[in-house]
């Protein structure tokens, strides 16, 4: 699989479009440091991902990259609040209850703090997943098909939230999708 060279400026919002099987998810995993490229390089700010040791990469990812997946998954044994706290802890940060509650409230799911993930609707789960991606104020937010499982109403809401929150944090946002509904939302687009 080959990908064209591209670079994103800090704080920009981009859409990565492509058909199924075009390697969108693979590219996203490369960018997120979940896969390592067989050739070429990925740089975030001044860090070359390929040169980080495994454990350093885990730490780097936890701190700097927030990822939203197509289907929202959580640690099922933990409540939404605990899941977010876990995200903070695994990134090596101190759990910050106020920040979690504030974030959940901003995403309109403040009342779900104590609930287990499977008690939330799909739309609520996706919001909680966004909250988790944002909780560490990561400079980079990657979203893999964040809307494809959602109906029009929820899809619009989720993408709005992503844009709003990324803007609020000044984070760089890259949404990977084949969802035609999003095509007109982003002026910056890469097609595979």
């Amino acid at each position: 699989m080959n990908f064209p060279d591209f670079s994103l400026q800090k704080g920009e919002h981009w859409l990565l479009l492509g058909q199924s099987g075009s390697g969108k998810t693979t590219l996203l995993h490369l960018l997120g440091g979940l896969l390592s490229p067989s050739s070429g390089s990925i740089q975030i700010e001044n860090t070359e991902l390929g040169q980080l040791r495994a454990s350093a990469l885990d730490q780097f990812r936890g701190k700097n990259i927030g990822i939203v997946f197509q289907k929202s998954h959580f640690v099922r044994a933990l409540s939404i609040g605990e899941n977010l706290a876990l995200a903070q802890q695994l990134a090596g940060l101190k759990p910050n209850r106020e920040r979690i509650i504030e974030l959940l409230e901003r995403l309109n799911i403040g009342d779900k703090f104590r609930l287990k993930p499977d008690r939330l609707s799909i739309g609520e789960q996706q919001r909680a997943a966004i909250a988790r991606a944002l909780v560490n104020q990561a400079p980079i937010i990657l979203a893999d098909e964040p809307t494809s499982a959602l109906d029009d109403h929820n899809a619009t809401e989720v993408i709005n939230l992503l844009e709003e929150q990324a803007s609020a944090l000044g984070s760089t946002l890259l949404v990977v999708t084949h969802d035609k509904r999003l095509k007109d939302r982003f002026p910056n687009q890469i097609a595979l």
């Binding site: 998810t25 693979t26 995993h29 997120g32 979940l34 896969l35 495994a54 454990s55 885990d58 730490q59 990812r61 936890g62 701190k63 990822i67 997946f69 197509q70 289907k71 998954h73 959580f74 640690v75 099922r76 044994a77 933990l78 605990e82 706290a85 876990l86 995200a87 802890q89 695994l90 990134a91 090596g92 759990p95 988790r132 893999d144």
Partner: protein
């Protein structure tokens, strides 16, 4: 959130799966701990009761039965032997014998055994009198601590014995009241459960009730004594401070009689002499049930004594240590079977932990990959799964110990009723600490393969599967 906390939440999120693993684990641990407990306590009891006895002489029959009935007081007594036959061993001048304690068994009071014996029985078990004094006269009883407590006996209490070892109103020896003159300190040995009285009391009760094996021919003098005794018993005047009959048979006297001899000079010889009992050596035609022997060191004579008695007399001699070893090996078969069963249950519980962790991993693959994307290192996932295995092991271990010690406490009540032996669940053994290590090892081994799998989770592949 600590790793421990996370592991615990993962486990408690599936309570039924956890319960199954825990129950199996607790069962295995409980069974092993229970075996350890009961083994330890039984051998402790047996050893305490060995009391340095080298040989037991009794009627022919099962040597194990002879040992159990005469030393541990848990089996039915064997038949009787005539004192004539054991005279040489009762003789305190016998250079090979350190102590010889005659026992007359077979009667009881409300399930507690009455033992007719001599005063050196107390020395054997290092038993001390707590209140009152030791038995001296006919029908006097020195009660063991437990027996006194359970039967509500105090110094001065009287009771009537019954024939045999079970409570049966039809078998009560009427008209012969025993009188408690003292109560012993607890020793932890079987003597706590006994009611001790001079051997003569047992003969008294039996001969006049027409039971037991009274000798066909009695010396006239003996008959007279017996008669006197009976009279006094009837008058309920079992008294103290009676002088002893000075008569000595061929210079033979038992240790318990020696101090009585000293009284000879002080006390006038009135016709109440008979209450100060004569040495049982003076009753060659009477019977006893068993004779406990302690040797003065071991030599050729004492080594040959057992064989000599077994071959040349109508009695048998048994060595307690050998019989107890034999008993252990008999019980050992059952114990071994139970122990293997316990290990198999432990193995199965380890397998159940393995299977539950392994199958939960399949459900949690995505979760694990997610944790990796959030910054968890592979080592952290490994540790989390290992911790889950160890947590199950620790909880299983604790529940298992609770079961075994609780069960032991319950059983202790039953055992007390059945054997008059006290067991307790409120004691912990060093072996149980090793058992904890074993339990942790099982938990670790069961978790290690799932943990390796968790560590090797391919994040990208798993996440791509959705």
């Amino acid at each position: 959130m600590t790793l421990l906390n996370l592991s615990w939440k993962n486990l408690s999120n599936k309570p039924l799966t956890m319960l199954l693993s825990l129950v199996l684990f607790a069962l295995g641990v409980g069974l092993i701990s229970f075996l350890l407990l009961i083994n330890h306590q039984i051998s402790e009891k047996f050893e305490k009761n060995l009391a340095g006895i080298d040989l037991v002489i009794g009627a022919k029959g099962s040597p194990l039965q002879l040992i159990l009935s005469s030393m541990y007081h848990i089996d039915a007594p064997t038949g009787n032997i005539p004192i004539k036959g054991v005279m040489p061993y009762l003789n305190p001048k016998n250079p090979f014998i350190k102590a010889a304690i005659p026992l007359s068994l077979g009667d009881s009071y409300r399930g507690y055994r009455i033992v007719g014996t001599t005063a050196n029985f107390l020395e054997l078990y290092q038993a001390k009198v707590r209140t009152g004094r030791s038995f001296k006269g006919l029908m006097e009883v020195l009660a063991g601590a437990t027996a006194a407590q359970e039967l509500g006996l105090k110094v001065g209490s009287t009771f009537q014995s019954s024939h045999g070892l079970i409570e049966d109103e039809n078998l009560v020896h009427e008209g012969h009241a025993f009188k408690v003159v003292g109560i012993m300190q607890p020793t932890g040995a079987s003597v706590d459960q006994l009611l001790l009285t001079p051997a003569q009391s047992i003969w008294e009760v039996h001969e006049h009730a027409g039971m037991g094996a009274a000798p066909a021919v009695e010396e006239p003098e003996e008959a007279e004594h017996e008669h006197d005794d009976e009279e006094h018993a009837a008058e309920d005047s079992i008294a103290e401070n009676h002088a002893e009959n000075t008569e000595q048979v061929n210079g033979i006297a038992l240790t318990n009689q020696e101090e009585d001899h000293q009284n000879d000079d002080e006390a006038p010889h009135d016709h109440e002499d008979e209450h100060q009992l004569k040495s049982i050596l003076e009753y060659p035609d009477k019977d006893i049930t068993a004779l406990l022997l302690q040797f003065n060191g071991h030599n050729i004579t004492t080594l040959n004594l057992q064989r000599m008695i077994n071959q040349n007399t109508s009695m048998q001699a048994a060595t307690p240590a050998i019989e107890i070893t034999r008993l252990y090996s008999l019980m050992g078969v059952g114990q071994d079977a139970l122990r293997w069963l316990a290990f198999i249950i432990m193995g199965v519980s380890g397998l159940s932990i393995f299977i539950s962790l392994f199958s939960s991993l399949r459900d949690r693959r995505y979760e694990l990959a997610l944790m990796r994307t959030m910054g968890a290192s592979p080592g952290k996932l490994f540790a989390m799964i290992i911790m889950e295995g160890l947590l199950l092991a620790i909880f299983g271990y604790l529940i298992g110990l609770a079961i075994s010690h609780g069960g032991m406490e319950l059983l202790a009540g039953e055992m007390k009723a059945a054997y008059r032996y006290t067991f307790t669940g409120r004691t912990f053994l060093l072996e149980e600490a090793y058992l904890l290590l074993g339990a942790l090892a099982v938990g670790f081994v069961a978790a290690v393969i799932p943990a390796i799998q968790a560590r090797n989770t391919d994040i990208s592949e798993t996440l791509a599967e959705g």
